[in-house]
């Protein structure tokens, strides 16, 4: 029988939530790495028992943990992330040049074909790759050395590379996103990169249509349509049907198009989910109502999903990596909040129930569908 394993990263540890395919009763394991910030955990699609986790702390810096038994036990692996060559500078908040400095790993993306290959998105923005299960890390410097690098600026949360999407149809193609530089794509396995921000319009930068400088919050792709991408930008929900070459807005009737998380239904590539957040200074849902919005038309036409979610006095946030879907039929949707709740829907968003209510602030949610 199928099982679901939900990997939850929080401000003070990691939790592993498991259930059978009914997704009604959950076992909660954790906190793992109690007291540490767990920005992201993700399992290998090749070997689901191989899980990578980013563990960090203001005191002790960055660690990478690896599990070979589905998160029951862990071992620390390599944590040395050294930029290639002389890192140079990017822009600081005040516009002055600021040297590139490693701060933390935001996102880990295991290879689709090899359990020992894994990518890391870091702050200050760069992408690293390990081909030995996380023991050693090498930068793919072509991204940071893209000519626009000196113009990149940190978003409010730091200059983080937070999204890595591997194209299942083309092993040479990778998409990434950086706050606040924008989205980039490589078609040669990471040697060279090009910004893919045409069509984005950001009024908070001097040139709203600039090639870089956009605060992209997250990107999602359905594996059956790797040329179609959905983006939650700082403001605006966007869509591209040509691998990011051009984007158009699909915010439609959303109550606000600010937000962080976005994801795609596992079996319906035109069904997408966002969690509208009131504004960039008010990081909570409009009107105190926690609503997931679903579009079954690939954007523009959205419906609120509210059953089982708090509809009054709710002022939590849902961060960019804190929403995920399972592959069961019907598709399960999961998201975590800064208030420590992890909500699940086993009917594609029609109804919701909390799996847990009182975790530390949730930073990331990933789901594994196990047979």
């Amino acid at each position: 029988m199928s099982k679901v394993r939900v990997l939850v990263g929080t401000r003070k540890g990691a939790f592993v939530l498991t259930s059978d395919g009914k997704r009604e009763n959950w076992d909660v394991s954790g906190p793992h790495f109690a007291g540490w910030e767990m920005y992201h955990l993700k399992g290998s699609p090749v070997d689901p028992n191989r899980i990578y986790a980013s563990q960090s702390s203001g005191w002790f810096g960055q660690l990478i943990q690896r599990s070979n038994d589905g998160g029951q036990t862990w071992e620390p692996v390599g944590n040395k992330f050294s930029y290639e060559g002389v890192p140079g500078t990017h822009q600081w908040y005040d516009g002055t040049p600021h040297p590139w400095e490693f701060k933390r790993v935001w996102h880990l993306e295991p290879s689709l074909t090899d359990r020992d290959i894994v990518y890391a998105g870091i702050e200050d923005a760069a992408i690293f790759r390990s081909s030995d299960g996380g023991q050693n890390w090498s930068e793919l410097p072509g991204l940071r050395e893209h000519g626009s690098g000196p113009r990149w600026q940190p978003g409010a949360g730091g200059m983080c590379l937070h999204t890595i999407i591997l194209d299942p149809s083309d092993p040479q193609r990778i998409y990434i996103a950086i706050s606040a530089a924008g989205a980039f794509r490589t078609d040669d396995g990471g040697k060279t990169w090009q910004p893919i921000n045409q069509g984005l319009h950001s009024q908070y930068i001097p040139d709203p249509k600039a090639d870089v400088g956009h605060c992209v919050h997250h990107i999602a792709m359905h594996p059956s349509r790797p040329n179609t991408l959905f983006m939650q930008k700082h403001w605006d929900v966007m869509r591209s049907d040509n691998s990011g070459d051009h984007w158009h807005e699909v915010s439609g009737n959303l109550p606000t198009d600010f937000g962080f998380a976005i994801d795609v239904h596992a079996h319906e590539p035109e069904t997408i989910y966002v969690v509208p957040i009131k504004s960039d200074s008010e990081h909570f849902p409009p009107d105190g109502k926690l609503r997931v919005y679903r579009s079954r038309t690939g954007g523009n036409e959205w419906e609120p999903l509210t059953k089982g979610l708090p509809q009054q006095d709710c002022y939590v946030n849902v961060l960019r990596d804190a929403m995920a879907v399972d592959k069961l039929d019907s598709c399960g949707i999961y998201f975590g909040t800064t208030g420590g709740q992890v909500y699940a829907s086993s009917d594609a968003g029609d109804t919701w129930a909390p799996i847990v209510r009182d975790l530390p602030a949730v930073l990331s949610v990933e789901v594994q569908t196990l047979s």
Binding site: G58, F60, G61, Q62, K80, S82
Partner: protein, 104 residues
Amino acid sequence: MSQQANRIRVELPAHLRTLAQVKGEVTLEVAAPVTLRSVLDALEACYPMLCGTIRDHDTLQRRAFLRFFACEEDLSHQSPDALLPEAVISAAEPLLIIGAIAGG
């Protein structure tokens, strides 16, 4: 002629004890001269999972929110090549690696 190794006592912060899977103090064999650098080199050699958690991988600078105390003195700002107090070298006192009180 090989230099005689000293047995040095080091007390780690709780989170690093968990990471290194040790309880209480650790004892290290450290060849003279016994300095912060040589003690940390020995510590990281015995417990490689601690690399990067106390000092930067590349610059070897102390991480900002950690402090080195011994004999009721703050040694954090002294040269990493300065000799540690005699009481540490003789193992009468431990070198304390402290997580600074910071944050909320």
